[in-house]
Symmetry: C2
Subunit: 362 residues, 2 copies
């Protein structure tokens, strides 16, 4: 059964409500900062998880060197709120984006990534608008097959192209190893080969950045790394628990939901559907969330405002009107669904926190 | 290759941009209104698809009797914009919601649904706040196994409970048959049995409401039906095409996206990821969207701001910087991701339309 604070949230704000516990958030921030400090790496948390300037400020106050954003709209909101030293881990492309980037670069310490010549060739215009150099990192793929050049030779070539472009500064390499020793070893070989290749041209990376909350367990394993970008750790979720990167006590965010229907003995409906919890499968998890009050319940499917509960395995089944808390599969996409989070500290309601950087085009 | 209007949208608004063509929207609205008229049914479009008062006004102007909302927050926004005759096809439950419902009912012609006694027993408080009766429909499940009582006997019992509750008016039955002749036949048996059961108590439904865009093909098949609720038809999507409820020419909404990376010959990355297109599987479709300029491309997976393209089957493969239009699997959840849509009429940009009713808690 949910506690008194959650009944008060339902009474005051209604459900479904996305609730964060700032005490847990602070513990998560402190733990990851300490891990980066121990490894001798700068901490550059990825704010795509929370999109809230006040939380980025807490990460900075705890010792983070700067922040990571995944799109320009996020960086603009963070910069407006006074955050500086921003890395956008994305290819910024197209006249509209390049012009916005240039305007932002005028007054903000910001760097971007590129994994191909077309992106590099568009960026000098941003530096021109800014009136000062733009740092650019080469994004490198070391096995994950998402963004990033696939070979060290391409990385070296692209670094040279950046260095030779008017207004651009080659700033380093951005990497996102998979969560395996083999991938970290491959990342080391990639980096060592790229560094050797750079020497001939007199270039050297100022930044070698790794990423990912699950990869926090591997901090310090990449010789030459200078910083780490983790995002999800600030709240954690069912995926982070599944991979061992978090415990239940580390989960700062729950979706407070009401059981609105119990049309059959083995089924029920939550008022949190795909427009709240999202259909994110969490990398193959069973169901769409963990119901803390009924862990044997399975959120088996969604309508937009319905979360369909399979209660067959539950001895204790919820009644219509019961409140439950759900740990979502993937917390980053859930925060992106709502305009504000409800913040608590243990049993005290702190208030609403606007998700200021959500809803931006690019 | 995308046309000039899409290049201008990218230039002015950036990507990913969610674009609707109002000419297609108007055709869709007129076609479905005509279908309801032909069947002698009132048209009560479900606004959860667009969440935009101006589009609801277009639906009303074309002949819709009223609108359907899936949550109170949507109804509040629509009522504020001047929409009346609103049906919330949902169990409204909990003190916070019941009080908001009562406040709304003071000045708006609004009805709600119930599928269980707990919900019914909470609603008299809303009527009391409103100072006038609240119409309540019994939601009936006729095989879909989502919300709704499972038997006609339960429907009759709940109708009696509503009629006997202070301030509540039994208004009718809400149904959502599956898209099969067998389900429509089962719905007819359910309704006939419920109607027979009601006669003893002197009750009769004022409204018998069916729903769903795919079910537009079955309009007129339920004797006793008075109205139909369809939502998705206003924009349509890949799911509607897959089930035959729409053609490509009926799809009014596309997500304009930029190819930001081509790290390997058989793969590419769009700037529309799970935070734009959503991970909605569209009821088992292959991939997460139809790329109009490269229909052989498969959007095979997402990161939050990355749409991963499998280009193996493409003879003509996109370059970095190319613009493409994506028809999403499920349009209703995509609209819910963004604060505004970009409206066009053919090759003319009309402007931005705020998605006014998104982001509400419940």
């Amino acid at each position: 059964m949910v506690g008194d604070v959650h009944r008060r949230i339902a009474r005051e704000f209604g459900t479904p409500a996305v609730v964060i516990d700032l005490d847990v958030v602070e513990r998560n921030i402190a733990r990851v900062q300490a891990a980066c400090d121990r490894a001798g790496l700068a901490n550059r948390p990825h704010i795509k998880t929370h999109k809230i300037p006040a939380l980025a400020m807490m990460q900075r106050a705890a010792g983070a060197k700067g922040i990571t954003c995944q799109k320009l709209g996020e960086a603009e909101v963070m910069a407006d709120a006074g955050l500086d030293d921003i890395l956008i881990s994305y290819n910024i492309l197209g006249v509209e984006k390049v012009e916005r980037l240039g305007a932002l670069r005028r007054h903000v310490d910001i760097a971007v990534c590129a994994d191909n010549p077309t992106v590099v060739d568009g960026l000098p215009r941003a530096a021109e608008i800014a009136g000062r150099p733009l740092p650019v990192l080469v994004e490198c793929d070391t096995g994950r097959k998402r963004a990033g050049v696939e070979t060290a030779a391409e990385a070296v070539e692209l670094a040279g192209r950046i260095a030779a472009s008017p207004g651009l500064e080659f700033a380093g390499f951005l990497m996102y190893p998979q969560e395996t020793p083999a991938s970290w070893a491959a990342t080391q070989r990639f980096l060592d080969t790229a560094l050797a290749g750079l020497r001939g041209g007199g270039l050297a990376p100022r930044i070698v950045s790794t990423g990912g909350t699950p990869n926090l367990a591997s901090l310090g394993q990449l010789a030459g790394a200078t910083e780490h970008r983790a995002g999800t750790y600030v709240f954690n979720d069912r995926m982070m628990m599944a991979c061992g990167a978090a415990t239940l006590a580390d989960c700062a965010l729950t979706v407070l939901s009401t059981v609105v229907s119990r049309a059959g003995p083995e089924r029920g409906i939550l008022d949190a559907g795909s427009k709240t919890l999202t259909a994110d499968p969490g990398g193959g998890l069973d169901g769409y969330g963990l119901v803390l009050e009924h862990p044997e319940a399975r959120i088996k499917a969604f309508a937009e405002e319905h979360g369909f509960l399979d209660l067959a395995a539950c001895n204790d089944r919820p009644k219509v009107g019961d409140l439950v808390r759900v740990i979502p599969n993937h917390v980053c996409v859930v925060v992106n669904m709502v305009d504000r989070l409800i913040a608590v500290r243990g049993s005290e309601i702190v208030g609403e926190m606007p998700v200021a950087a959500r809803g931006r085009i690019g």
